[in-house]
Symmetry: C2
């Protein structure tokens, strides 16, 4: 028995039910012409994933169902597996039950519907909020081969539906996914699916969506494993692709399956991070109807990296940079910003913040408890002029955004976002925070990676080598307020990403007073983060819907 | 058989494990001295509710368990029912299971633990995210009376644990709650509990927490219903209280129970809304370590209401008002703001925005596609000067906050929040958005209610009678950009709060083009709302964690 299977990793858009259906029909046609027996699309391919609370609207579910029927009507002998929201009316006025489902479509009809059993409700996932778990199995005959369908999380469950379907006779499991990227996810995913294939004694065809959706980036990377858990064919990450494989179930090959199909080269970890930032930024900007972006270039490393990513995502002519010097800006910062803009080929305008900053100082002088000096050793009240400078810069960027229709890119990294080392409504303004999930040490790693791959200084060495500074007062340096980033970041990783308590982190060998101070800063700045822009998730725990802590929170453990 | 039962509706603080335990011990001592046989505290009284992702930290759960043991060690014959996070280690390195639990404490020990069965995972609730459902029953003997324990949502389930426990012989069900307020919730709650009592044939003692936690306000209002579903005793809403009732199970009374205890007077709907805003604001400010607040007084109705609420919540001397006139401010607005400040007894300072506004216009002139005129019929580019004015005001308020340590109160209402009729980083700045869940029509209703209750013009009639205007250009009025609020608000209620689609709302008789335009505005401004301050939830669907829609969203149905 032989099958030709297509795994279509498409970049759908949430809510674009009709456009998504059109893309499914186009890809189906291509697979049909390529002689495929089956084509599998990602999880909830009709609605885009994750549709969040759109699923609570009856009309949205009905529109999705109609789009599914339109796709099904176009099918012939080639089977299409299409993710959609299935609905079952409840008795007695109770709310309808909705399911994260996959339809098996053939010869113009929806032939069977599989409803996802395992609904993830952790990390960034809220599937129990809108969906009811299914409990039935679907195994259909495709040209003599019994093929089962499962959805995403189902394949993660030992003894779960994939195993049960193999026991019902399935010779292949088609697992459709909306599995977002984070660092290390690809390896974890392949290991997990391999485990399940071995447990089930059944090959698995894993198809994943690709593209950005708000904070999430889906990395594609669809693949086929045989019953021994060996990856036999794979699609690239971070790009649309249709992986076409020929499966021979009777070849007596090791793993119970002979697979002919392409193998995508592996991407390095940092190359994956870079691609996630590029795809996330491009899709957020374009899917929200923007073409151009604007950002402030301080001469520092964060804005340099964001500018470089933006140029990759959108093209240099779509990226607009602004230098906004003050009395405290060093000559080096100005020339570094100009050098960077030139290397990237982006336009750079200069708007001094002094006129507005000076006006504010005069306007506010009567209301200040002590006259703001703009200098000094930073008692709390003295942060006012620093924050004002940052807010003037934010207002300038937003004015350019309003006047020109450019989306502002925010340049804050995860280290400063964590400890609140930024000005709310100042350097935090913007539509998308490209590197919000990268610790400062990772920002440096990624800049060096970009330079190494390019074989030239995309980001000038001067920017990478000078000590980080906000330049909001004379001779300011980050390490006057914060520990060095190579000390700070590991503590933040344990506290923020791994949910360790202060006691536990101290027990691992870190300085007790320092850990307590950092944890306090993280907690005390929850209110600032809550008003931040969304940005690309690249770790297993990003700020955003991944980490839901109360603002009002007196826990100090 | 007679029991004296105390329902202690306390105002706990999330994360304040030790402080919460101290408050439990103090209230327990009081109930003990009052001769009570049982005292019931609210859901998760040890951790505060909702603890959100704090529950994912092992150390937090362990600290809570230690605090529970400390409370239990203080108990004698009087039973204490204490909500806490229970943990059960899992086999083989799997993550521990955690339960939303209630401990039955007596004679120095934890005697039994009930684990909540029904974990709400809708609206503002995410309990499936951190908790595993329980499935066991707890019925303990209290001076000869079999008493069952259940937690919150359990009582909402027909045929659920409350009914099962009655069948096991329970003569009383103690139901401990963290049930947040929204309009109409009290009636719904009492009707539901009455249904369950009738179904179970068993009286129910319902205890609820009180106080604000970020966006939620818990309204207390604890009560006892007999087996016929009749409310026999009740505590006030929106205030700490210990409701002590004597229950006689053998009196042959109607409803199977004679209850002697106080009845709190009913509060009107608008009085509940007012109380929710006052309690929510007071607790957010104080629990986050602030004493004073600052807000801009425009002379309009929104800031007037917020100022009045703030004065109730914190006292007039803790509220600081700022008038920030521009070239477009009417004389009436200035005098109305001054009149209001005088009536409320709050200090008012005036900071003209002109110097900074003028500086921005000069600084940005070379970057504008057309020179900003500050007037005109509002093509997109012309909004730049309007937004700049608003952002100057935001920066002034934030500078006062930085310099003086005052929390900024945001004054936006739900109508303008919905359609994006506000400036991001401008009038939206602040720590807490007091009226963010009140449509403009409700703002007027509540102002009139405040005046009626006070028997005088707390909010001057001039403010209530003039047409709403942002005063960002000459002769501007809200109804130049938006439909009248009595047309807008009902459409928003259906779209935002009831999840109706455009088609459905049009079918109810609204203008098709208008509904489509409003829905588009609501969707297109999701990104602005996402960066907004938290504020008191008073409806069944507030913006915030109650309504989780994607920013990137092409659905237009």
């Amino acid at each position: 028995m032989r099958l030709r299977v297509a795994l279509a990793q498409l970049n759908q858009t949430v809510g674009d039910v009709d456009g998504n259906a059109d893309r499914l029909i186009a890809a189906y046609g291509g697979a049909q012409r390529a002689g495929c027996d089956l084509v599998a699309f990602p999880e909830l391919a009709i609605t885009g994933y994750p549709p969040e609370d759109l699923v609570l609207r009856e009309g949205f579910v009905a529109d999705g169902r109609a789009a599914l029927e339109r796709v099904a009507a176009r099918t012939g002998e080639t089977v299409a597996v299409v993710g959609f929201v299935d609905e079952e009316p409840s008795a007695a006025g109770a709310p309808a039950r909705r399911y994260n489902a996959a339809a098996v479509c053939r010869n113009g009809k929806v032939e069977a519907v599989y409803r996802k059993h395992a609904l993830p409700n952790y990390d960034v996932f809220d599937e129990r909020r809108t969906f009811t778990p299914g409990d039935a199995h679907v195994v259909v005959d495709v040209r003599g081969v019994p093929v089962a369908v499962s959805v995403c999380e189902d394949v993660w469950i030992p003894g779960g539906p994939v195993v049960a379907q193999a026991r019902l006779g399935a010779r292949l499991n088609v697992n459709v996914n909306g599995s977002p990227y984070h660092r290390g996810k690809g390896e974890a995913r392949r290991a997990l699916v391999a485990d399940r294939a071995r447990e089930a004694g059944c090959p698995i065809a894993y198809v994943n969506q690709v593209g950005g959706q708000d904070e999430l980036v889906f990395d594609g990377g669809s693949f086929v494993v045989d019953a021994a858990g060996t990856v036999r064919a794979s699609a690239p990450q971070f790009a649309e692709d249709v992986l076409i494989v020929d499966l021979d179930f009777d070849a007596g090959a090791p793993g119970g399956l002979l697979v002919e199909g392409p193998r995508a080269p592996e991407m390095s970890d940092l190359e994956q991070v870079r691609s996630a930032l590029v795809v996330g930024t491009r899709d957020y900007v374009r899917k929200n109807g923007f073409t151009d972006v604007v950002l402030g270039l301080s001469g520092g490393v964060d804005s340099a990296l964001v500018a470089a990513i933006a140029v990759e995502a959108l093209g240099a002519q779509r990226v607009h940079a602004v230098s906004m010097p003050s009395r405290y800006s060093s000559e080096g910062s100005r020339t570094d910003a100009a050098d960077l803009a030139k290397r990237l080929g982006v336009d750079l305008r200069t708007v001094s913040i002094e006129p507005a900053f000076g006006a504010y100082l005069d306007m506010l002088a009567p209301s200040m408890p002590v006259p703001p000096s703009g200098t000094g050793s930073a008692p709390a009240a003295d942060l006012t002029p620093e924050n004002l400078q940052s807010r003037v810069r934010g207002a300038i960027l937003m004015a350019l955004s309003n006047a020109r229709g450019w989306m502002v890119l925010t340049t804050g990294n995860k280290s400063e976002t964590a400890v609140g080392y930024f000005t709310l409504y100042g350097d935090s303004v913007g539509g998308y925070a490209v590197i919000k999930d990268l610790f400062k040490t990772t920002v440096y790693d990624l800049c060096r990676h970009l330079n190494a791959v390019a074989g030239r200084e995309v980001i000038p060495r001067a920017i990478l080598e000078k000590p980080p500074s906000a330049e909001l007062r004379p001779d300011q340096r980050d390490d006057q307020s914060l520990p060095p980033y190579d000390v700070l970041d590991p503590i933040l990783a344990r506290y923020v990403e791994d949910d360790r308590t202060v006691r536990e982190i101290v027990a691992e060998g870190h300085d007790a007073a320092l850990v307590a101070r950092i944890a306090r800063l993280v907690d005390a700045n929850e209110y600032k983060r809550r008003q931040g822009a969304p940005g690309v998730r690249v770790t297993h725990k990003a700020f955003g819907k991944d980490r839901r802590l109360p603002i009002t929170n007196r826990y100090r453990g």
